[in-house]
């Protein structure tokens, strides 16, 4: 199992992840060209990056009518075969994270491809809101975070 782990409480909304993603994949900088998207709620200072979680049983793969969503054997990432994708948006609706987006120019689905196993967004995220675990450390990171939260809620009672 490999995936990008998100801890929204650490995100500061700087959008560096979006910029490095669009720059490395498209050669220009824009949040509309990024595979990772930051969502924000200004009034409570909450920011949350949203990115493909490369699920174990991906609904996008199941629903794709042309078989364009496939799992890469090298990185274990769920990626789009642009030749097969017809831009029907089925995967956009099927994804529980709302992670896939349409490329503004090609109108094909684009999602995180894990940058060949070294995601750049995790490198530029200085608060470690985004981290990558190729061999399942992800669950440990999340367990720790949840454990801290649980401990805090018990102590505050």
């Amino acid at each position: 199992m490999s995936a990008i782990s998100i801890l929204p409480e650490r995100c500061t909304g700087c959008q560096s992840c979006e910029m490095v993603c669009s720059l490395s994949h498209e050669g220009s900088c824009s949040s509309s060209l990024s595979r990772i998207r930051m969502k924000k709620w200004d009034e409570i200072s909450v920011f949350m990056p949203v990115v493909c979680q490369h699920c174990e049983k991906p609904p996008c793969m199941t629903i794709c009518p042309t078989g364009a969503r496939t799992r890469s054997p090298e990185t274990n990432a769920v990626v789009t075969d642009e030749k097969r994708c017809v831009g029907c948006k089925s995967c956009l609706y099927a994804c529980p994270y709302n992670a896939p987006v349409l490329h503004p120019n090609t109108k094909r689905t684009m999602t995180c491809d894990l940058c060949n196993g070294q995601p750049l967004c995790t490198q530029v995220c200085t608060t470690r809101a985004i981290s990558y675990s190729p061999e399942g450390d992800l669950s440990m990171e999340r367990k720790k975070a949840f454990g801290q939260l649980f401990l805090h809620s018990i102590k505050s009672r």
Binding site: C14, Q15, S16, V20, E26, S28, S30, S32, D42, I44
Partner: protein, 503 residues
């Protein structure tokens, strides 16, 4: 096709409710490089002498640089200029605003935005990827900044767009009113809230997703990754990341120095800082910034962002408020009402000192003698001012701008002055490399010096000061070791400005 820049200026006339775009020649972009120069150049070409800040013709100019909206670290700042209401005589003034506003402006396809005219009823601007609409703001008039921001985002169905708005203070045209975006970042020292209020402009809502194209994307990516790593690994930056700008408190490189001498915080000041720190919860960052120096505050009704040491200081020990909670309340009131925290602090200090010396005018805010707590007293006085009892209180100063001789290295692009000037983590050479990779323009340090020199000549002319630099050699060398000198000058000037305002 121009790389890095967009080559367009968006002109908006609020009186006629018209918007149009103009080309900015590539030669001009190279000559002025970034936002501060573009703004000064616009004013220089269009105004022979300063005009009244309250006149409809008075423009408000927002401009960005070639690295805005890219991965370049700390490049999310926006240059702003206008004829300011804060001075006895109308004077050209400029400032820079941290945050995210410049990014969607560039994404909408513009390097510069010029607002002129005066709406006949309250409006807000909706700039959506280059398309401009004038929306009615009658229902927003009177609302605080949080309500305004959320209402506009909900109306347009996009919580990710940026909103720059004024609060009730701006609507009442208080000279020290301010604009606020993301409910945190402010364009200080310019009286922007007053200028928006005069134009009956409640807010600018902006969404821009057009990509910033680059001359050499791979080189640019490598440079940015190297710089981000360097900034991230710096020890001082680690402290800034943990405590925001509060980590600079009481240090040599902090801002708490008096008359150039090192100043050690007294016990009440230490307690003030400690009580503030207990409310810090999480960080907040400008666009593409690895520092995240803004601190979120967890207090009473919830979480809110945007506190920095400088702002807190002006609403804390600077007005003898040593209770951190009152500082937070004052800061929260400033953000909600759309007030400049620096000028508010200076004004409160003036009122409180003036009351002691019997200098307050009869129609001004009155000292609440029945209140002993200094923080509560400040809060009550500020409320009096906001309720109209202090409108017109003299706040003007003879100083044309707080930026006259400082941090232009960060300012001309614009960039984050904390990273560039205060912590010395990005140098002129780094910027030159980034500009080349972004635009293909091979700039030399001498070119950079010339640009700075020309911008300052223009600004001096606009400020009616004449050319005050007789000798070009008096410009600080933009070499890598000289940035600390700029920093020292900045401190001295900031101190003298505060001194002038408070006295």
């Amino acid at each position: 096709m121009i790389k890095g820049w967009k080559g367009k200026r968006l002109r908006i006339d609020l009186s006629l409710q018209k918007a149009w775009s103009e080309d900015i020649p590539a030669a001009d972009l190279r000559q002025w490089l970034g936002g501060r120069g573009l703004n000064a150049s616009f004013f220089s070409q269009n105004f022979q002498s300063p005009i009244s800040p309250s006149s409809p013709e008075n423009p408000i100019a927002f401009a960005v640089g070639p690295l805005t909206g890219s991965l370049a670290p700390c490049s999310g700042w926006t240059s702003i200029a206008s004829f300011s209401p804060l001075f006895d005589l109308p004077s050209y003034a400029f400032t820079r605003m941290a945050g995210h506003f410049g990014v969607p402006l560039k994404g909408a396809g513009y390097d510069q935005l010029i607002l002129q005219g005066k709406a006949d009823r309250p409006v807000y601007l909706w700039i959506d990827n280059g398309e401009v609409k004038f929306e009615k703001a009658a229902s927003l008039w009177g609302k605080e900044t949080t309500e305004t921001t959320v209402a506009i985002q909900e109306e347009k169905g996009d919580r990710n767009m940026e909103v720059l708005c004024i609060g009730p203070a701006g609507e009442k045209q208080l000279p020290f009113a301010n604009v606020i975006h993301r409910l945190s970042w402010t364009g200080d020292h310019l009286g922007l809230g007053y200028l928006f209020g005069v134009k009956q402009l409640k807010a600018i809502a902006i969404r821009g997703k057009k990509p910033v194209t680059l001359h050499d994307p791979q080189r640019f990516l490598n440079l940015c990754l190297t710089l981000k790593e360097r900034i991230q690994k710096d020890q001082r930056m680690q402290r800034v990341k943990e405590e925001g700008t509060f980590s600079l408190f009481g240090r040599d490189d902090g801002m708490m120095q008096k008359n150039g001498k090192r100043w050690l915080p007294s016990d009440p000041v230490k307690q003030w800082a400690t009580s503030l720190r207990t409310h810090l919860s999480g960080q907040e960052g400008c666009f593409s910034c690895p520092a995240h120096c803004g601190g979120n505050i967890q207090y009473q009704e919830g979480t809110f962002g945007g506190i920095h040491l400088e702002k807190a200081w002006h609403l804390g020990p600077n007005i003898r408020v040593y209770n951190g909670e009152w500082t937070l309340k004052l800061h929260r009131l400033c953000l909600a009402q759309g007030l400049d925290p620096f000028l508010t602090g200076s004004l409160l200090s003036h009122v409180m000192e003036g009351a002691k010396n019997g200098l307050l005018p009869d129609q001004g805010p009155q000292q609440p003698y029945h209140i002993w707590d200094q923080g509560e007293k400040a809060f009550v006085i500020l409320r009096q001012i906001l309720d109209g009892k202090g409108n017109g209180f003299p706040l003007s100063t003879h100083s044309p701008s707080q930026n006259e001789d400082l941090d232009f290295l960060a300012d001309i692009l614009p960039f984050c002055m904390i990273v560039v000037n205060r912590l010395n983590l990005m140098t002129a050479s780094n910027m030159i490399d980034l500009i080349y990779a972004a635009t293909g323009y091979a700039l030399s340090k001498e070119d950079l010096r010339d640009i700075v020199w020309n911008i300052r000549k223009m600004e001096s002319r606009l400020q009616n000061k004449g050319i005050y630099l007789n000798d070009e050699s008096s410009l600080p060398d933009l070499g890598e070791g000289q940035i600390s000198e700029i920093l020292r000058k900045e401190k001295r000037i900031n101190e003298s400005i505060i001194h002038r305002i408070t006295s």
